[in-house]
């Protein structure tokens, strides 16, 4: 399903500080439900919220990389990332689910599982 102009503008606004690949991935996910588009969106948003003092760069990260301890996100930054993901991908992560998300792999897997049960809404 193609996104309308308003929806495209919303995505571009939310991701305006991300690279074009992140924006394209978000649109691909929203239009096609393509789960391979999730990691580029997640990476793009974490890159935006990661502090300069983080001990690990995102380019050296893998599925085991811990969001707080390794990537330097504090709990508020993690909430900001989740808030942005929810806004862009139109998925909801509830409080209990949030507690379980500690690594990049968990976050990506969680979002992939999510779309099996709930196709992305294009409200």
């Amino acid at each position: 399903m193609n996104l309308n102009a308003t929806e495209l503008a919303e995505i571009q606004k939310e991701l305006r500080r991300c690279n074009p690949e992140t924006v394209a991935a978000a649109i691909r996910f929203r239009e096609q439900g393509d789960s391979t588009a999730i990691p580029p969106v997640v990476y793009g948003l974490i890159e935006l919220y990661q502090p300069a003092t983080a001990k690990l760069s995102l380019k050296d990260a893998n599925d085991e990389t811990r969001l707080i301890e390794d990537l330097g996100l504090d709990s508020l930054a993690l909430l900001e990332v989740v808030f942005a993901i929810e806004g862009v991908l139109k998925l909801h992560i509830n409080n209990d689910e949030l507690k379980e998300i500690r690594t990049l792999g968990k976050l990506n897997q969680f979002l992939r599982d999510k779309i099996v049960t709930a196709a992305p809404a294009t409200s």
């Binding site: 502090p51 300069a52 504090d74 508020l76 930054a77 909430l79 900001e80 808030f83 929810e86 909801h92």
Partner: protein, 421 residues
Amino acid sequence: MKRVVITGLGFITSIGNSRPEVLRSLKECRSGIELFSEFAGNDIPIKLAGTVKGFTFPTARFDDWTYPAGYQISRDQLRAMTPNALYAFCAMDQAIREAKLSPELVSHPRTGLLCASGGSMWLAYENLHTIVTQGVRRCPPMAVVNSIPGSLYINLVAGFKIKGGSLGCSSACSSSAHALGLAADMIRLHRQEMMFVVGAEDCNRFNILPFAGIRALSLQTDPAKAPCAFDVKRDGFVGTGGAAVLVVEELEHALRRGAPICAEVLGWGQASDGYNVVIPDPTGDGLRRAMEDALLDSKLQPGDIDYVNAHATSTIAGDISECQALRQIFHNSKRPWVSSTKSLTGHGLSLAGAMESAICCLALQEGFTPVSANITELDPACADIAIVTKPIPDAPRIALTNSSGFGGTNVCVAMKKWEGS
């Protein structure tokens, strides 16, 4: 009791974003008032504001904001800020440098923080609008901390790792004067060695234009003519925002570390009108009692006072009420010089008391009497008050600064030039 001195100042104001800029504006009578782009619409009858230069807030998102070069603010410090907190962060940075404070002294159990702000009505609006139109799930993570008035101390305590007592004052336009008085008391009682006193307000249509509801804002369109406290043509105040910071320190502590001392806080007083929610008591009784309290607390006589920085916002009722209070205090003594520096800066609301106390520090330290700008025809009802309508050579030694706010709150702080002992 311990003695209290001011050892550092910071300014983000309509008349300058540093001590030298503010000093120059005051001495040269340069106004910070401009036609404000946010008030450009035909449906907005108010046109002037004391604009804060060097900052932009194009959207409610902090990562779109810009601020002057030279301040180091990390993303995690900026993300929870309001515009007023960003102004205050920059003014804190200046005050810390001026007071020559090490990071260890800034973040010390004996160093506290007293803040005053009305909060960001803009961000409160944005956050609530999002919740109402998009649902609670789209409530931004920082929606509480960047909406409430406490946002100022929340951001500064975390940003500067403050370890001493920290709290906010909320008494409308006397808020930061209350903060200075209470900070002085905390030091006199030796509960803290040092306190940062911070007043800060946003400068936008959301925190200024609501005053149009009580017709308190000037409708003047020429920035060279308003505000004009004590003038017959005054028609209301001109709003402003920004931040002012004072480092308030126990005297012996300041002397031991060789701190640069700007002025001494001799004492302060406060009293309420008990009269009306917004209208000042026309007899000036509440402000008179606050000034009497300040004189008593400071062991001063009315004749000791050289200069009064008046609250004088340029409203018709407020200026007359204050003149009544001044008249009652000084009727049997030497008449002190009186001016409204709001006629240059605009009215900073919760920021006003801290900004004007800091201006008094400059006047005492640098030896000049600030002018009450834009007076072309002094109101005959103010004629017996020694209002500074043009530059004079007198340098004050002891000054009072008055602040009054909605609800009839009144504060007066007494300060003395630092003369080495």
